[in-house]
């Protein structure tokens, strides 16, 4: 009995299914390794002594945490005097250190993201819930802007900002976010707003709620997952964006992390361990954010993709 059962397993469909499952798992594991290994290698190099950077095997780590301090202050560590207050100032506010880049990036990313969430949601709300002449035409235009390569508008927009005297400031990176928030985000949020029953608007209207009240107090709270998705998209985009800061920012005290990192290449191009430390520092917040928000993030992309 036992034998035949065992034999039955080896010849049965079950065995085939198990085999297939094992094979799939092996492929998945191998592929995920290729996804993760580069990132691990980066972390490993960032902790190596300079003479060991390219010594093999690649996973040998020296745990040299001072690399991070050196990468953090690319123009030299702050000079300490012994006075606590002065030292604290020197450590935290040294210009052209990654403190500054990080702070700059947080400001730019934060303000842009607020703008993107606000303006794309209010635009999406109008398209999803309100009736007005030319609605369909305007929405087709919104979708059409998805097709316009950013490079077409790059030069005239630069000229516009140059005439406003806004170059070498963060305004060109922040202001556009408040005016529209991107066709992709509008489209994504509109899909979410469409899914909310209209009875809610009606009930609120009867209770004397204004249109803005409906948007602010009823729709937005219901769309928090979608808003988080848009926010995370915007944060990732702004955090990683190189082209716009490259065009608009010249003063290195206003550099974002992407620019600072790009600059770092010419500064420490031969110090690979420091470069990898800097790269790790730049990537880390995004990775943390991604793991924290991945549920919404992946769901949000999935929704857009399906409705496309």
């Amino acid at each position: 009995m036992e034998r035949s059962e065992a034999f039955g397993f080896w010849a049965s469909k079950k065995r085939l299914a198990a085999l297939r499952k094992g094979l799939a798992l092996a492929v998945i594991l191998a592929l995920s390794l290729t996804m993760v290994v580069p990132l691990l290698w980066m972390a490993a190099i960032s902790l190596k002594a300079p003479e060991n950077v390219f010594k093999l095997p690649p996973w040998r780590v020296d745990w040299r945490w001072s690399n991070y301090v050196d990468a953090w202050y690319p123009y030299g560590r702050p000079v300490l005097t012994g006075n606590l207050w002065d030292d604290l100032k020197a450590v935290l506010f040294q210009k052209e250190s990654f403190w500054w880049y990080t702070w700059n990036t947080v400001v730019v990313t934060g303000l842009s993201t607020l703008g993107v969430v606000f303006s794309s949601s209010i635009t999406a709300f109008a398209f999803a819930r309100l009736k007005f002449p030319l609605r369909n035409t305007l929405f087709v235009i919104v979708l059409g802007t998805l097709m316009v390569p950013a490079q077409v508008t790059m030069v005239p927009t630069y000229i516009l900002f140059a005439h406003l005297g806004w170059t070498n400031s963060w305004l060109p990176l922040i202001v556009p976010a408040w005016l529209g928030g991107g066709a992709f985000n509008i489209f994504l949020l509109r899909q979410f707003f469409m899914g909310i029953p209209f009875d809610l608007d009606e009930a609120a209207k009867i209770d004397g709620c204004s249109t803005f009240g409906i948007f602010w107090r009823i729709m937005l709270p219901l769309c928090v997952p979608a808003l988080i998705t848009v926010a995370v998209f915007s944060i990732v985009y702004n955090w990683n964006d190189l082209l716009n800061p490259l065009i608009y920012i010249q003063d290195s005290s206003k550099f974002t992390l992407a620019l600072g990192l790009n600059q770092f290449q010419s500064l420490a191009g031969d110090k690979t361990n420091l470069m990898m430390a800097a790269a790790t520092v730049v990537l880390l917040p995004i990775l943390v954010l991604f793991f924290a928000g991945q549920k919404y993030f992946i769901q949000g992309i999935a929704t857009t993709g399906l409705k496309g």
Partner: protein, 342 residues
């Protein structure tokens, strides 16, 4: 699709405000005020569109028929007719940038689409801990930027880089087994990657494949939207796995594939950050990484040929539009379930 939703939406909205004493005037006044409110809500977008999209598009179109260094003020703009476009015909770097971009697109789009579908199929299996792997595969695409370009710069290092190290290790394993049977050694030496013009495009394709997680997620969403009954029916009809994939999965997934195809093509026309970082901003070696957008950037913000750069950008715009239209024209292979329902 969008149209249908909109009609449905307005229908539900119109049901209110009726059954009053004077429905006509009240509704009209309601509609007018609603439209006013709507346009107030749209104001930021309209402003943004005029300032950063519509206006710039027209101005850029105008500039593409002009010469302008940008420094001499608006009065320095000189109308030159079709000169910019004529110049392209003899511009060797322009030709090289088109070639680089087309080769990159032709190689990366099919590979990243096939890879995306394959991984999505794997991620759609009902296995324990699959959510964790989904996250892992998506991970690289959030790191796209200067930092990951740095990382790849070292991965592609010919002597010390991770990739060629992997190739050497793989070679040793293969040679171990070969030596069991034959008295020979096969040489496994990775190429020079970013230093060798012949391998630069391949390097960029590999990098793109690594960061292609977002299209995988979209395929996955498409796969999860396929009703289970279709597979059950196919199984009853005696279809094997391959036939189920061919006749159920692929047709049902085709709208998503189409969506991704368009996005991927547009995206690969516009590759910039990696090329900028890895080529030192100038498309080296031998202009093999002089992708189109990088060339536009150089012409505009390094050489201040704003007119020529605008012409290049407009050409890209027209090409993107044409390619998208062509894809729609030949989208007969896309199966829309809605078609059956009417």
């Amino acid at each position: 699709m969008a149209q249908n939703n909109m009609v449905a939406g307005s229908g539900a909205g119109a049901a209110s405000g009726m059954a009053r004493k004077k429905p006509g005037t009240r509704r009209l006044r309601g509609a007018v005020s609603e439209a006013l409110v709507a346009y107030v809500f749209l104001l930021p977008w309209i402003l943004g569109f005029v300032l950063f999209m519509g206006g710039p598009i027209l101005f850029s179109l105008f500039l593409s028929f002009a010469h302008w260094d940008g420094i001499s003020g608006l009065s320095g703009i000189r109308w030159v007719g079709l000169d910019n476009f004529r110049d392209m015909a003899t511009d060797l770097r322009f030709r090289k940038s088109v070639y680089d971009t087309v080769v990159f697109t032709a190689a990366s789009v099919p590979l990243s689409m096939a890879g995306g579908i394959l991984v999505a199929l794997l991620m759609n299996l009902k296995l324990k801990g699959i959510a964790f792997f989904r996250t892992i595969f998506y991970l690289p695409s959030v790191t796209a930027g200067v930092a990951s370009a740095f990382l790849w710069f070292f991965i592609f290092q010919p002597d010390y880089g991770l990739l060629n190290y992997g190739i050497r290790v793989f070679g040793e394993v293969v040679n171990f087994f070969v030596r069991l049977a034959l008295p020979v050694d096969i040489t496994f030496r990775g190429p020079q990657w970013l230093a060798d013009p012949a391998w630069v495009h391949s390097a960029y394709v590999i990098m793109t494949l690594w960061g292609g997680g977002s299209s995988m997620i979209i395929y996955l969403a498409g796969l999860q939207g396929i009703p289970e009954q279709l597979y059950e029916a196919a199984e009853i009809d005696g279809a094997n796995q391959w036939q189920q994939f061919r006749n159920v999965t692929l047709p049902m997934l085709s709208p998503v594939i189409f969506f991704n195809l368009i996005l991927t093509v547009i995206g690969s026309f516009q590759i910039f950050t990696q090329a900028f970082v890895l080529s030192g901003g100038n498309g080296s070696p031998a202009d093999a990484a002089l992708f189109y957008v990088l060339y536009i950037y150089q012409e505009a913000f390094r050489l201040f040929n704003f007119g020529y750069a605008s012409a290049l950008a407009w050409l890209l715009f027209v090409v993107v539009l044409l390619v998208t239209l062509i894809q729609f024209k030949f989208s007969g292979w896309v199966y829309y379930e809605g078609d059956l329902k009417g």
